[in-house]
Amino acid sequence: MIIDKLRRQAAPSDVEQAVNRREKPYMLIIYPSLIVTILFMLPFLWGIYLTFTDFRLGAAQTNFNWFENYWSVMTSSNFLRAAWRTTQFTLITISIELGLAFALSIMMNTETIMAKVMRRIISFPLMIAPILATLALKLMLNNKFGVVNYLLSFFGKEDFPWGASPDTSMFTVILVDVWIFTPFMVLIILAGLRSLPKDPMEAASVDGASKNNILFRITMPILMPTILVAVIFRFIDCIKAFDVIWGMTAGGPGDSTTVFSIFGYVLSFSSMDIAKGNTVLVIVWLINMFLGTKLIKFWQASKDRIGG
């Protein structure tokens, strides 16, 4: 009996053989792959096909258009303005969120009372549906009875129009996004801070390095991959942002907050020009792919620099 067991152990495990035989695992992956393919890939590919036509809802027939949609979209001033809005939104939002999150993470890495409290509840804004958070904040940013405006009245700014004026709408929308998603960055950066190895820092301080030096030359590079993960996620999400902006201003007074996704939506459902709307979205996808993969390469390089 024992000999049988030993013999089995010595021979290449038939379990491993079965796995490598690609039977069962292959089968298990088939169903979800099918679902994802049907629900996602097919509409996705059809959507791309539509951008090469002049498809309109309720039109008699659809003609193949080649790149006419792309050309007319990319040369339209509306598109360029949407591009500018999206760039504004993305860059400013990420800078603010990164700075805030970094400062907060450092403070929350201590053992003070507030740090312990905040560690528990910092994720709350994130648990709320972005659209609901936006609508809730909208109630408070109202210039007739909003509590925030009341607080501002102490500074004489009680009629700050927030989302109602084209001058302040972009600022408002950025503020809302910062409120919702800074905790996201905090969670990631805080996790990174807490898993930092102590040895390099200690070795450096024993060797006589100043605190600033340690921070910038040792802590930062080790943290860089973590920071980049947070930035990459947010970057991609900001470029295709829809919920927050739609809830707050639906594109803003005029088009002051019309970013790419909202532009695509408006083209598809207000102007009924689905082909053009989808064209905008395909362009967003391509931008995301291009910049996203560049950022990911950057991230991999930063990982390699600290030894993976």
């Binding site: 067991k5 089995r8 379990v15 069962k24 695992p25 089968m27 992956i29 169903y31 979800p32 792959s33 679902i35 994802v36 996602f40 509409p43 996705f44 059809w46 539509l50 907060l104 403070m107 929350m108 201590t110 003070t112 507030m114 740090a115 905040m118 910092i122 709350f124 804004p125 648990m127 549906a129 972005p130 659209i131 609901l132 609508l135 809730a136 909208k138 408070m140 007739k144 009875f145 009341y150 009245s153 409120w179 800074t182 905790p183 991609i236 295709k240 829809f242 809830g247 695509g264 939506y265 598809s268 689905i274 989808n278 979205l281 395909v282 996808w285 995301n288 792919m289 996203g292 990911i296």
Partner: protein
């Protein structure tokens, strides 16, 4: 016991590195975090507060914190405006929206639970397969999932909108559940798979040596130990599904809509009752917050219970 000089030096330096911050620094940190608390958590508290006020108190200026406490907002949501006379069309519209809201809560619950359940049944075995499947192309799989994120949701929703209309699934719960599965399935597979990766292959080998079949080994040995990972994926995808806006916005009918869309509807009427909206928002965000808090505690205990001696 007596320490040598060397030992004393080491002990002292360890103690120094474990020193709490100086008083001044602690005050600064506490202050800064308190401001952060006001900024991030303040609005949530304010909305909860507003849900317990009457309309007149909310619109009064300056807004007060503790003017009075009333449950009428919540009561009206659950009891169809009770005895209040429905005089103007504004009131009638409001009442309709309120009735729709409770329906929307049920809808969202149904959508989230069913899509996550189906994704579990289909996805966990797939995650297991992915985890045990020896293949060289694992990195490219990861990249593929990442690339799904690049796509703006609207880009798949619009064609789905057209397809659904043709197929007759537009505005149906069945159609909505399918789309919600699209959100939860990848997440469940991805995170459960990480949970499975943590478990060494020795487990199944030991079970098989003891005479278990492959399926039995999976269900009786691997699955219980993978519970933390699977639980994490369930929590995350449930919250994601609950909070989803875009799918319901475009693909649902007014009977089907999730709360995220229903509350947006509240804002279309002028002169609306802000107290009631606040109450509705509180009810809409409660499940996600409860699930996340409860799950956190469970996850922590689950992780320590599932430890495998390596």
């Amino acid at each position: 016991m007596k320490h040598t000089r060397e030992e004393l030096k080491i002990i002292r330096s360890i103690k120094r590195s474990m020193q709490p911050l100086s008083v001044g620094k602690r005050i600064l940190v506490n202050l800064g975090l308190f401001v952060a608390f006001l900024f991030f958590i303040g609005p949530i508290l304010w909305i909860v507060l507003m849900s317990f006020k009457t309309q007149s108190q909310i619109t009064s200026w300056p807004p007060s914190i503790f003017s009075s406490f009333t449950l009428e907002n919540y009561a009206s949501i659950f009891s169809r405006l009770g005895g209040a006379a429905v005089e103007t069309t504004k009131d009638m519209l409001m009442q309709k929206k309120v009735e729709k809201f409770v329906q929307a809560l049920i809808n969202t619950a149904f959508l989230s639970v069913s899509s996550v359940a189906i994704s579990l049944v289909v996805g966990v075995p797939a995650a297991y397969g992915l985890s045990r499947f020896k293949t060289k192309s694992k990195e490219s799989l990861a990249m593929m999932f990442m690339s799904f994120r690049f796509v703006p949701e609207l880009m798949t929703i619009i064609p789905l909108y057209l397809i659904y209309q043709k197929v007759g699934l537009y505005g149906t719960t069945f159609g909505l559940v399918w789309v919600y599965i699209l959100i939860s399935l990848p997440m469940i597979i991805w995170i459960s798979r990480i949970g499975f990766d943590e478990l060494p292959y020795d487990l199944e080998q030991a079970a098989l040596l003891d005479g278990y079949g492959k399926a039995k080994a999976f269900f009786k040995i691997v699955l219980p130990l993978a519970k933390p990972g699977i639980a994490a994926s369930v929590v995350l995808s449930f919250i994601y599904a609950w909070n989803n806006f875009l799918f319901g916005f475009i693909l649902s009918s007014s009977d089907n809509q999730p709360v995220t869309v229903a509350i947006l509807g509240f804002y279309d009427i002028t002169g609306l009752n802000y107290g009631r909206i606040s109450a509705a928002i509180v009810l809409a965000i409660l499940p996600a917050i409860i699930v996340s808090q409860v799950a956190c505690k469970h996850l922590v205990s689950g992780l320590s219970m599932g430890a495998v001696k390596r």
